[in-house]
Amino acid sequence: MTITKRARASAARLNFGGPLSWLFFLLMVVFILGPLAWLGIRAFAESWTFPNLGPDGWTLRWWSVVLSDETLGRAVQNSLALAALTVLVSACICLPAAYAFARYEFWGRRTFLIGLFALNAFPKMGLYVTIASLFYAFNLMSTVLGVLIVHVLGTVVFMTWIPAAAFAAVPQRLEEAARDAGASKLRVFLSVTLPLALPGILVAVVMSFLASFDEAQGTYLIGAPDIMTMPTEMYTLVLNYPNQVAAVFSILLAIPSVALLLAAHKHIVGGTLAEGFQIK
């Protein structure tokens, strides 16, 4: 986006580009990256004496502690498998609905959309408490299905809203043109609508994967101690292990997220995510 010289001038007059903005920038860097760096260094630290700004020595010992620990290894497997399964199930359930919200007018449409939003308004912990009492009655506590349900619930809003906005943004004239050229409905959907809506779906998949990978409270309440994922292991880890082990585990836990960030970065910053929550 370009901006006029005048707006630039007015911004400059307010020190928007001056030392004040540098200070703001620096504070934001420390605020956002500081905690991550401070924790990250610990993964390679021998020990640490206050108030030194660096560790007393460097070591890779903590990595072997984590990588050789079987329960932690299983947690890594559980997390990855659960997240993949969650995205798959959620996509099957929500993507057709997203298409319907974008392309059809039907009875109860608005109520449905607000209902989806209401899911977001109920406090997560309270929701899990209520779900847990239901799961007791249905024998779903400590089962994979129970945990999967909780994870899928956490992704419904992303998987419906963001792709719905993406489907709605596909120009209908393109679809009609393809129909006029003799393409079947399925062909139009597969060759025109789907490719154009793909960035939105990709963002939804990434967000859902992360939501599942990140989910800790519900998994802990429903799944522990039988089904432990990486985030729920963190709860016990920080209490029972030295700080450095938690740091190693944190880095491992952040790897998939950062990989996905790099993959979908363009679309998320480009406004696809914001689009999903917005009325235009």
């Binding site: 209520t130 985030p231 920080v238 944190s250 929550f277």
Partner: protein
């Protein structure tokens, strides 16, 4: 997003009448709705019955496990559990804490996001783009890690104290205080607000800003009279989602906050697991839900208002 497709669909309905009002859309949209009714709506109704002392049926198991359960002797329930929770000074303090932390965190988040958004809109450059990229990073860090990193950063032997100690200054310990809860909430909520507000501000045509400048408007005037009102809906969405996220949060206050008073999300979990008083936990959930729905109502209202505005044009 809610209403744009609806308007499109309606226009189509009158124009071509081909796709509109076929039951197919309804059935396609059904699966997530059924899922939510089954695993959110139904448990909430059940939990509400439990909170007013109706302990029969599916609530029987939880009522027999839990301690200190108020049972109703009639079919319409009893407010006893609500009265107990609302007269407990400990829980009331948690309630006040929850409201204050939510208000404070939301305010800080919105101001930071507005600052970054305006920076990007009015002074596009490498630093502005770096800044907005930086603000997105927390989106990709699991909240558990973020909370733990923040505790370590602001702890007794953390970065803040270490830096100040280099100059012989004793900095405060923020870990396990409400300050850390606010910091953590701001840290984790920032990306969504920045994405929302930035995209809202970017959608405003630059020509409008130029026109206002030609008419002699100053920087503040442009921000207050043009940019903020034009991006009002995205800003409101950012506010509601931030506030709802913070008000019901658990992980951040659990890791970074003090034992007491803390936010209701933590006491809810304590009452449910540690104290084994599920009814009181459920009552707290409904109190938080009430606050959250108040916030959510403004979002729905904004959606309708915006749709109405667009419909008139």
């Amino acid at each position: 997003m809610t209403l744009a497709p609806a308007r499109g669909a309606k226009r189509r309905a009158t124009a071509t009448a081909a796709v509109a009002r076929r039951p197919l859309g309804f059935f396609l949209a059904l699966p997530p709705i059924v899922l939510i009714l089954l695993f959110v709506g139904f448990p909430i109704v059940l939990a509400f019955a439990f909170s007013i002392g109706l302990t029969g049926g599916l609530n029987h198991v939880i009522a027999s496990i839990g301690l200190n359960v108020h049972e109703a002797e009639n079919w319409w329930g009893t407010p006893a559990a609500y009265l107990e929770v609302l007269s407990s000074p400990r829980i009331l303090r948690d309630l006040v804490t929850t409201v204050v932390v939510t208000a404070l965190s939301t305010t800080v988040v919105i101001f930071l996001a507005l600052g970054i958004g305006l920076f990007l809109k009015l002074r596009d450059g490498r630093m502005a783009r770096l800044l907005s990229g930086l603000a997105i990073i927390p989106l990709f860090i699991p909240v558990v890690i973020a909370s733990w990193a923040i505790v370590t950063f602001y702890s007794g032997d953390g970065f803040l104290r270490s830096i100040f100690a280099q100059f012989g200054v004793e900095a405060p310990v923020w870990a396990f205080t409400l300050v850390a809860v606010v910091i953590g909430s701001v840290w984790t909520s920032l990306p969504f607000a920045v994405l929302m507000i930035t995209s809202g501000l970017q959608a405003i045509p630059n020509a409008m800003i130029e026109a206002a400048r030609d008419a002699g408007a100053g920087f503040m005037r442009i921000v207050v009279s043009i940019l903020v009102p034009m991006a009002f809906v995205p800003i409101l969405i950012a506010i509601t989602f931030t506030a709802i996220g913070v008000v019901g949060s658990f992980t951040v206050p659990y890791f970074t906050g003090p034992n007491a008073p803390n936010m209701l999300g933590v006491s809810m979990s304590n009452y449910f697991s540690a104290f084994n008083q599920p009814q009181q936990a459920v009552v707290m959930a409904f109190i938080v839900f009430l606050i959250a729905s108040g916030i959510a109502a403004t979002y729905v209202w904004a959606n309708f208002r915006s749709a109405k505005d667009q419909g008139k044009i």
